[in-house]
Structure formats: structure tokens, C-alpha cells
Amino acid sequence: MISVSLDRIEKSYGDNPPTVAADIRIEAGEFFTLLGPSGCGKSTMLRMIAGFLQPTRGRILFDEEDVTTRPPNKRDTGMVFQNYALFPHMTVAQNVSYGLDVRRAGKAEKAERIAKALDQVGLAGYGTRRIDQLSGGQQQRVALARAIVISPSVLLLDEPLSNLDAKLREETRLQIRRVQQEASLTAVYVTHDQAEAMAMSDRIAVLEAGRVHQVATPREVYHRPATEFVARFIGRSNVLPATVVETRQDALVVELPGGRRVETPAPRNPNRKAGDAVSLSVRPELMRPCPVDEALLVGVVGAAEFTGASITFEAAVGDLELTVTMPDRADAPRPGDTVGLAWDGERTWAVGE
């Protein structure tokens, strides 16, 4: 179990500005997720940790040891690939055995560790199967077993669930998390699926265009997004333009479009002053319909979607299109209604810029 640092790394091609620039420290034993849309550089960072790519600047540290130029086969990482990368000419057991063979493990020890790893991923007894006889989910678990059987110092996972169907994805993510905790491994997980990231991670780094927007726990990322991008990327969010009226300790009073004022928690920022423009992130499930005279915002209901337990409707407030999610009730607003909207100010967040 080791910590991993991406120490002020940059990756650039030619003389262009770096496509990836980051400074991240992943603690020992942590399940750490690199989250972002495709092309955000998350896989590039993972491949730098694995040693398949070299940063143009900066260093990769395992604990405090510089491994920047160490070749991948000497890094002792276990990697699970998006397409599993199982060796098609080997059986399940031979695949899992590969890393142990390289490490010249004894025969008895090998058999024992392979059996244990297959058991951990729920594939006991599958050792003699050929790879093409397995389903996608089973292949994924063989890839996981192959990566953990060598007790790697870091477990690297590159979108391992993206080729599975929705139900299998949820089962497998629990299993990955359980295996990681049982073996107390440092894990770095790459995904573009924010729900997956929230469900599995100790901490998440939210990335966009090669830059880190926020590194924090799932809860913090959801409730205290550092930027508008994070607010919109993690779950759904209504981002409202507002003007600062008054600054307080850890909070702001802001004026909303339409003139109502509301207090909201905000990151500490000594430079913030009255008259500044800020963005206010209000999650759809926080908004609730209310009488117009009590409302913070007043809008007209647009399309509504019934999804079972709840309904989601759009509301037009001036130029703003807001989304509101509420439990389904008989008196739920209908398209065309004028609706007042209110929320509990405690749980909103002024997005810092």
C-alpha cells in the first residue's frame, strides 16, 4: 500500500500548451477516482502512473520515490483495462497466473493465490475455461483477478465497467470496491460516469480539458462544487446568476433575478465584495413549488416528465431554464401553470470563480 503523487505533471505535444497539467496526491489505501468527460486527460494521467506514458514535465512519485522514468514492468501496478486485455491464447488460470509467473512464484503458492483471487471475484472453478467462453462480466472479473493476484502496490482501473450493461455495472462496482478494501489496495479509478464515481470513491478529482477542477470527497463534490463545471457535471444542477449584496463568515447574501434576496453558504474568499457576480448552484430536488408571494423565483412550467416516484418539470424564469424534481403529487404543477419556486438556502452553494 503506497501513496501516489502526480507531482506538478504536464503532458504536451510539440510546442503546444500542455494538454494535461495536474498536481494530485493519492493517499495510501485510498480509492481515488479521476472523473471527467471524454478527452479530459484522465486516461493520460492513469497511463502516466502505469508508466505507458511519460510526463513532459514534473514527476510521478510512489510514496516519496521518483518513478517517472521507471519502465512499466518495474512499477508493480495492477491494471484493469476498459476492454479487459485478457490474453486470448491462454485460459482463465493462465491469465491470472501471468504476473505470478513473471515473479517466479512457487508452484504451490501460485495455485493457492490463483484460487484465492478467482474466489474473491466469484469465479472459483473457472480456471480451465477459455477466455472466449466467458461473458463480458466474467471477463471483466478475470481482468480484476489478474490485477489483484500480484498484490500490486497500486490498482489501476481504466473505465472497467463501460462495456457492461447497467445492472451488471452496479453489481460489479460493489465487488471492485469490496475487493479493494479486503486487499487494502491503493486504487486509482478512471471513469466518465459520475454516479459510478460517487458510489465507489473515497475521493474524486473532477477534470476538464486536462485541468483539475476539484479534488474532494463525493459528498463535498456534490454539495460544494468548486466551479460551475463541477456543479453541472456532477448530477443535475440549476446554476443561477446572482449579485452579491453582503458578505458574511462562510456565507453570502445574494440578489436573484427578479430581485429576491437569499442567504447561501459560500467558500471563503476575502476578495469577494458587494456587487460581485456569482453563480448559485441549486440542485433540482432542492427546489419546491410554492405560492407565488412566498417564492424566490417565479416561472412558467414547461414540459413535465413522470418517472414513477417523482416528477421532473422544466420551468422558464425569464431567460433561465430550470429543472425541478419533486415527489409525484396530485397537485403537482402542469405545463402552462405559473409556479413559484423556493428552496432551503442552507443547502445551496455559491460557486466560486
Binding site: D7, Q54, T68, F81, V102
Partner: protein, 572 residues
Amino acid sequence: MSAPATTPIGVRPSLSERIAGDRFVYLLAIPVFLVLLYFVVAPMLQTAIFSFDGKGAAVNYSTFFTGASASALGLSVGISLASVLLCGVIGTLLAVLLTRFDFPGRRMLEVFAILPMALPPLIGTVAFVLLSSESGVVPRALHELLGAPASLFAASGIGGVLLVHAFTMYPYFYLSVSAGLAGLDSSLETASANLGARKARTWAKVILPMLTPALVSGALLTFMISMASFTAPQLYNVQTLTMQIVSTRTSGDHSLAAAQSTVLSIVSILFLVSMRWYQGRRVHRSLSKGVQRDRAVSRGPVRYLALAGSLLISALLLAPVLVIVLVSFSVDGAWTTQVLPPQYTLANYTRIFTDPKSLLPINVSVQMSVLATIAAVVIGAAAAWIIARWRLGGKTLLDIAIMLPWALPGTVIGVNMVTAFNEPNAANLGLVLTGTLWILPVAYFVRYVPLVFRSTGASLDTIDPSLEEAARGLGASPVRVLRTVTVPLVAKGILAGALLAFVDGVGEYVASVVIYPSQYVPLSVEIFGRIYSSEIGTAAAYGTLQIALILIVLVVSRAMEGRSSAGAVTTV
């Protein structure tokens, strides 16, 4: 987000640090590139330099552009253009017929359509001479039947060359157009019809434009191979540039031959480059995958016409093989003016296997080809892997060095070899091969290393690079990854390329005829010698053995590789 405080940053990793992950690729590239430099690039340059010798560059090249060589070049280009046209029509029609229509005999025709590729270059041409020259089977049979003079039906001179080219080179069009048609998105045709276009309009405005890339690459390939053609011009005595090179050398003017070779090299390289350029910029790609579409089914009396037609075409395609096999059982010297040989015997075969002198050419060709194949596997497979994994600049250089011999005519490679390894000099590091047995495997290696390279490269393209990364990540060294993952996965591709290189080496004629040492005659040269001394039965028996070997290898490599390998036999 904290970082250790004592971090010296801002230092750009050196080149060696950047390539640390796959340093092995670059280390391996050095010996591979040196071998290619030594055996492929340097000999070609030495020929070019040698062409300035003798009476001097000015004299050699002005002799070239004013004398017989210039008209030979013109003739080569003319024949090649005509070959492209003929092969284009035949190959495209056959491809459309076989992919778009269903009729009795279609499957049989599909099998026989690529049969011409199984003919070794010399023996294929010999078969045509036996079939269609004035004293050949077909003109004589027509003479017997119709009474008109046989010469009326005979192919000779340029006509004979074009006949052989049309027959042996149409598969390049057939294969590329078939692949193009198979990859065509049938929804495009449906869309065109749905928008109200008639069939003819759909073909003109949609299908042909989509097939342009296939047609252009078929045309470039046919042109190149036709320019390199030597056996058909030799047997029909047509003075193309390849013929000129050999006769100039035979007459002793080595520096003029070098000048002729150099001009032909430049033409071939230009075509190689334009082909790569064209394939790099092809723009028409179907958005959805090729879909199985229904074939138009022939009905009623058309069915019988179609059956008769496919039987006839199949017979035509089989005829060269059949005539060689038939003649191989004929008694040498007994076949004079009859339509078919009058007397049959097994003696030709028993002689080959019992008379040491007759067996020697087979031993020479097989053993030299085995040596060449081993070298081609080592260098070709290594180069394919290097190019697939190379991440720095300069990859094109290696790529061109290894594909160069594929573009160069066999005659030119022969001239390059005898020129470069004639006497010790700085470029050949004192190695002299001219006049020895060892020049044969070296020339075969140079000619066929692109086959192993391409077939291994195609195999490598199908394996996911993350398999190698997975093995590296699990701790395997680069050599171990190659041994345990890469090589087992591309073994079939390597083997298919090796088998092709081996059979092509056994049948090699064009370069051999320039370089062979007088005491060790390779098989194809021996066949030519036997024909020259009217031992046609023995020549055909050698040829039959060659064809049998090629068919075995084709069947084996098809079984291994599915459907893709037959397209790789490319020698004339």
C-alpha cells in the same frame, strides 16, 4: 493536493527518458534497419552510382534516352497501360458478377477466380505458350475443326504478353473491387433508389464513386506489376525495359544496364509513393458496416446460359494448369504437330527424383528458399512489430526501406545484387556474393521480406496493444512480452507470410536468371533451360510440382487465416 516541498521541476525529460517505456522497440530497430540498409538500400544506390561509370553518366543516360532503351521504356509503359485496362474490365466485371448475382456454378467460379495467382510466373507463361502460340493446343484444335490456318488464332508478340498479363493480373482488380463491393453500405443504394434514381443512375452516381479507391489501387498495383513483368516478354520475345536490362547485361555493357535499372527503379518507387499517398487520402468510407445483401437470382433459361458461362470461364481458368499437368506426362520430343501430346509416360517424374542432376535444381531452390525465408521471418516480423509500436518520428524511413523491394522489379533486384556484391568495397564491407550460391538466398530474402512484413503487420493490427501493456504492467520485460504474448498471437500471420515467401522463393525466376551461379541452377532457370532444349515434358513436370506446392500452401494458409491471405501472392 499537497506535493512534497523539495521538488525540482520544470526539467524536460531527455529523449532516453521519454522512450524509457518502450526503449526495446528502438534498440531492436537499429539492427533491423542496418540489415535493410545493407541489403536493400545500399545495393540500389550502388547500382545508381555504377550507372555513372563506364562511358560516364552522360553517355549512359543519353544512350538510354535516345537508343533502344527509350523505346523499350515506351513499350513497357504502353503494355502496362493496356494491361491495366484489360485487367480492370475483366476483374471488375467478374467481381460484380460474383458479388451481386446468384446463378448455378457461382461457387465454383468463386474458387477458380483467384486460381491464376497460384501459377508460378514462369510456368504460367509457359502454359500460355503451350495453349495459344501458333504451335499451341487451341490454334491447332481450331485449325483441325475449321480448317483455317492455326496462325489466325495464335497469340504472339505483344498480343501474347497482353494475354498473359490479362489472365494473371486481373485478380488484383477482382480482389480489390470485391472487397470494395462487400464493404459498400447497402443503405446507400436503398437511399438512392428511395430518392427515385434508376439502377443505372445509382451505379453511375453512387456505386462507382464509392468504388474509385478500389479501382485506383487495383490500377496502380497492376501497372507496377506489369512494368516489372519479365517472363511474358521473354517468352514472347517483346523488348520491354526489363528484357532490355537483361540483354544489355548479357552483352556486357554493365553500366548501361545499371542506368536502365535505375530508371526502372525510379518509375517503380514513384508508383509505390503515389499508391501510399492515394491510400492515405482515400475519403469514401461507409458509415455503417457492410450488410449482407441479397443477390439477384437468375431464373428460367438464363440459368442454363449462366451455368454454361460459368463452366466455360472455369474451364478457361483451369486450362493453364491442366495443360501443364497433361504435358508433364508427355514423352519429350514426341509432341510435334498434334493438337495434344500423343504419348504419355511417368518417366519425367521418375527422372527428376532419381537422376541427381535433375534433382539438383529442386534442392537448390528449396534449400535457398528456406534460408531466405528464415531471414525474412526474423527481419520482416521484427520490422512489422517495430513499426506497429514506434511512437517517435522517422517511422516512414523504415517503412519505405522494407517495402522498397516490393516495388522494385525482380530484374532490378537481381542487377542490384550482382552490382553491389561483385567485388569488395566500402558499402558491402568486403562481402562478395556474385557468382556464388549465397547470392540466391540473399536475393530471395530481399524480394520476399515484404511478404512476411505485411502479413505480420496485418496480424498485429488485429491484436489490441493493451494486451502488451497488460503484460508489461504485470511485470513482464519487453522480451518476455514478445515471447509470451505478441509472438503467439501473430504466429499465424508470420507463418502465412513465411509460407508465401517460401513458395515464391522456390518458383523465383526473374531475379534468379540475372544472378544464378552456373554450377547451381535454380528450379525456374532449369525449367527455362529444358524448354530451350525442347525437353518440354520434364519442364512441365517441374512446373506441376511447383503448382502442387503452391496449392498446398494456399490451402494451408487459407485454413489458418480465414479468407484474407490469398491476396498476398504477388509475383510476376
